[in-house]
Symmetry: C2
Subunit: 311 residues, 2 copies
């Protein structure tokens, strides 16, 4: 499949690596003369690093799949998917989507890398809007595979489904939001942890370095291979509902101290428990905890290796 990258800054360059690594053809376009050529040089350097770290095998073949397009029309011609990465203002996004609308194929899907502005703010005026959505990556997308798919009210479910499949084919880990919400999921989760971190600093409970260490030598180890719900699901013998039974009181009191105790209610706990038990039956909890510890051991070994290498 051919993909088009519109806007060849850091994020656009990262996407080019993702798609070319997966075997897709990539056309790179930037409205600023020379920018796409500079991006190709940066991409070549990044591919060199990835090869050195044994994360890719054939640097030259990957690079050969990326070419600079001379115009927007040339970039998107016959593209199955377009990833838009222009400067993040509503005006700039609206303008590029108007331009794209004039040249895009009848079946082409368009994802925007927008990290904060929802697609409804910049795709309402275009004819292809049912095939547009936000596909928000982390940076760099070729090392951090999460992609948040956020549909506008007029995005077809079929669009989300097809982009999810395409991103999975590209080696990414897409998630779907049912509707637009400020900050999407990733930054909202981050904001929750940071809010508590800021408050602990404000109250003089611990230093910034010690708060950071609590995550880098504690919470973050598990979270690098399983999410927050799976973490608590495995932290009590009977799963997440059992965990809530044991520790819900503590968490409710912590949240009350911050003026927000709405979470950890019975209905929510039952809902999450049901979804987790579908994903992992109660009788498999023990085996999964063994898996968790094996992953933690692999992670510990990798951390030791990296620290030795750094001296």
């Amino acid at each position: 499949m051919k993909t088009a990258i519109i806007g060849a800054g850091l994020i656009g360059s990262g996407w080019a690596i993702v798609f070319a690594r997966a075997g897709f053809e990539v056309a790179l376009y930037d409205g600023v003369a020379g920018a796409a050529e500079r991006a190709v040089a940066l991409i070549a350097q990044r591919l060199h690093d990835l090869e050195e770290h044994r994360l890719i095998a054939d640097r030259a073949a990957i690079l050969a799949r990326i070419r600079v397009a001379a115009s927007l029309a040339e970039a998107v011609e016959k593209a199955g998917y377009i990833q838009e990465n222009v400067f993040e203002t509503v005006e700039t996004k609206r303008a590029i989507f108007r331009e794209l609308d004039a040249v895009v194929g009848a079946d082409t899907l368009i994802g925007s890398s927008s990290s904060g502005i929802p697609a409804s703010a910049f795709t309402g005026h275009v004819a292809c809007r049912s095939r547009c959505l936000v596909a928000h990556p982390a940076n760099p997308p070729y090392l951090i595979p999460i992609v948040e798919l956020v549909p506008a009210p007029w995005t077809l479910p079929e669009t989300v489904k097809r982009v999810r499949a395409l991103m999975t084919d590209a080696g990414q880990e897409p998630i779907e939001l049912t509707r637009e919400i400020q900050g999407f999921v990733l930054n909202r989760l981050q904001s929750g942890l940071l809010a508590e971190a800021w408050q602990l600093v404000a109250e003089g409970i611990a230093s910034v370095a010690d708060i950071d260490r609590t995550v880098s030598a504690g919470l973050g180890l598990r979270w690098s291979f399983m999410g927050p719900f799976e973490t608590i699901d495995l932290n009590a013998p009977g799963g997440v509902a059992d965990y809530a039974q044991r520790f819900g009181g503590l968490y409710r009191e912590i949240r009350q101290s911050r003026g927000t105790a709405g979470d950890w209610n019975a209905e929510l706990i039952a809902q999450v428990e049901a979804e987790r038990r579908k994903a992992l039956p109660a009788e498999a909890l023990g085996a999964r905890a063994v898996w968790r510890d094996r992953r933690l051991m692999g992670l510990a070994r990798e951390k030791h290796r990296a620290e030795r290498e750094e001296g």
Copy 2:
């Protein structure tokens, strides 16, 4: 140095591995007859796993440093440090500290593995209270090195300092709280992220699995080797204050939507920026971002390895 482990359940067994691995002598005591012997069998199995994963070199020597004590007095005799891990109720903790007080050496320090009850609730009545504090581990402590040191009002600063040094010698990563606070730091940070996760589920924004994936394939990758403040410090060219300048508005609006917008204020941002710039000068930000990407590459390689191994 000799250490004593009081209470030989999962956490006590984990501590025995930590201290014996670091070369300390370990006396293991449990009030329930046979429990310490069962713990030694469990420890032997865990050491076997650690050796298989190339995380320890000499299993037999480590195991040889752990012995079962026949009484509390025998366990703590000549111990430089005692780690208490009895059942977590105020009554049980108070009782064991009274027992310890009668036999403990004049210079011995005592850390409690308490995950929620502060030391002030169970050490106020003992003569040795200035040498007592909470030393809260994650589970298992030999794979997740964080230890939260939480002093009671009567804990001497010297006690915290010495336990911090001892934990560092043991290969752990201690952090210090300036005073007691419910949930300490680790669970408070976790509660912040979970609060947002619960709300996203309640609002039907994303599935439990997709919220988990946002962390395990996104936020958690960076957080496994650097904390939340260092993460945002490296996510804007000019560091954390620059990041707050660019994204503080978004975060404030997200927090406002949850009824808590007190964080991200100018004074706090300046304080964290100052602490970060002491830890990492502005001119070193670029080099540290290169370090971050190298660590991400090592982590990606390890994840691929683990997933291949799992088939």
